[in-house]
């Protein structure tokens, strides 16, 4: 479905040293530096998959999305999506994709959402009968009936995002690119958006490529993660694999009857202790959890123990550190 092979892209960025003299000088002569946005990125995505594309700011996520959606032409590499090369067959190709930029709107600001939808129908030349069917389905599943006749500028961010996603699906695309679809949304709206994404993926088999900084999105949606940092692909696999590779730490919270001696636990980092409570961090590569608990049980009268796997966000932070991003 999607085959990306060795794409690279670099940008020329004008150097802008501060100071008035440099500002004047730069009018006549500018020095440029080449910034490699992405370097030799390859992956394949089969139809119907949800892929989380993650990485810190400036890692090259948007550049990749722009290349895959036909906006930008890469310097090197090939990309074949549904048999098209996105940047060569732009007008034919873009009929098959939907793109949502969480930070920007694709709707006309001052008119009711419905007007925007009708204009999109004409832009994409959607036949009337399939437009009606799709619209009905979207109104129902995205719960748009009450907001569709409201001008976009009067909608809340969560309402607007539902309308944005609806707008990108009117022409029944096979691939949906979602660039930070949950940014700025409250908890309820986030969950609504996630559920909808899951639903269209399951029911209509739409392939979804999702970039986000919200790891809960990834955990809820993505079977597969592509991690990019400083323009290179660092990890390609599922969340379990990511946990196995990096998430070897467990957090143990132990509650016990009052104990005023210091705890003796080798190979364990103690995050905090009080008279009757300790939070420990265990690296399962150095020692295992049951040993730690039995050592603990020898020293104190345990009341309760909870063990938590490392949250995915910590893993990502750890990976960023490991790769020095």
């Amino acid at each position: 479905m999607i085959e990306v092979n060795g794409i690279s892209k670099s940008f020329l960025v004008a150097k802008r040293p501060s100071g008035l003299w440099h500002a004047v000088k730069s009018v006549f002569h500018r020095e440029y530096t080449t910034v490699e946005a992405i370097k030799d990125i390859s992956f394949t995505i089969p139809a119907g998959e949800i892929v989380g594309y993650i990485g810190p700011n400036g890692a090259g996520k948007s550049t990749t999305i722009k290349i895959m959606s036909g906006i930008l032409v890469p310097d090197h590499g090939t990309c074949s999506i549904m048999g098209y090369t996105p940047w060569e067959d732009r007008t034919l190709y873009v009929k098959n994709i939907g793109v949502v930029f969480g930070q920007r709107t694709q709707l006309w600001w001052d008119v009711p959402v419905m007007d925007s939808y009708e204009l999109l129908r004409d832009i994409y030349k959607i036949p009337e009968h399939s437009y009606k069917a799709t619209l009905e389905l979207l109104i129902e599943t995205l719960d748009l009936s009450e907001i569709i006749h409201t001008p976009v500028r009067q909608l809340s961010l969560g309402q607007r995002m539902r309308c944005e996603i609806g707008a990108s699906l009117l022409h029944s695309p096979d691939i949906l690119f979602l660039d930070e679809p949950t940014i700025g949304l409250d908890a309820v709206s986030k969950i609504a958006v996630r559920q909808f994404i899951q639903r269209i993926n399951k029911e209509r088999g739409i392939t979804i490529i999702l970039t986000t900084h919200d790891m809960n999105d990834i955990e809820a949606l993505a079977e597969r993660i592509l991690l990019i940092g400083k323009g290179t692909l660092l990890y390609d696999g599922n969340i379990q694999g990511l946990r196995g590779k990096f998430g070897t730490r467990r957090t143990i919270t132990a509650e016990y009857q009052d104990y005023d001696q210091p705890l003796h636990l080798p190979e364990v980092s103690i995050l905090s202790t009080t008279a009757n409570r300790a939070i420990l961090s265990v690296d399962t590569e150095l020692t295992n959890v049951s040993d730690v608990i039995s050592q603990l049980a020898n020293q104190v009268q345990l009341m309760d123990v909870t063990i938590q796997a490392q949250p995915i966000e910590d893993i990502i932070v750890q990976m960023y550190k490991e790769y020095q991003l």
């Binding site: 873009v94 009929k95 930029f101 006309w108 008119v111 009708e118 204009l119 004409d122």
Partner: protein
Amino acid sequence: MSLYFRYMIILLKSQLQYRASFIMLTIGQCLTPLTSLAAMYFLFERFGQIKGWTFHEVALCFAVTHIAFSMTEIFARGFDTFPSLVRDGEFDRLLLRPRSTVLQVLGSKFEFTRLGKFAFSVGLLAWAMMQMPTPWTTIKLMTLGFMIAGGVLIYLSIFMMAATLSFWTIQGIEIVNVLTDGGREMTQYPLSIYHQRIRRFFTFVVPFACVNYLPLMVLVDHKEAQSWYALLPLVSVLLLIPSIGIWRYGVRHYRSTGS
């Protein structure tokens, strides 16, 4: 073409959301040509005529120029305000839609408030036409139509070329206003009153004379007029073709540099 009108309707609806501001701007837009016209009137009152041109002949010239310019502003404002489309990243969105970029940029903005200026100029044109001593033949009416259409095409071409510049630089395209606003101010008057170099520039480089001064001579039965001058406005197409080419080149550049 029908999509273009769809764009127009949705943007007209948007504009009408702000009714008071729309009405005020529309009325205000009449004032600019009115002041220029008043200046021209007093000039003629003092001197009677300029290089053999009478007031109503110059008013005809003035009206044609302003009709063409205000029509371009109404229908092709998208190219005039294009730098902001690039700056806001909205141009990326246009590239995601399965339609030509020229059509989408044209459809991105219409300046309906220029209708005021347009209506004023049409009124002036009607008045000037009635003052003409000779009758309006079919040929003359066609020539008049060509002049307006040709003017629109020239302004559109300049707007497009200026818009293309913004793929390279966001600032510095004010210089282009020398051609649009400057050209408009110049061609309010018959070009024969200017220095020869200026006349040549506006004939052979930016062919305003071909849509304005030269065919105007046919309209007023000027003694030096040649009948083929009536067809000269078609020259404007020769400017539009390279403009579209340059535009396409700019879009390619944008997509390969992403600036």
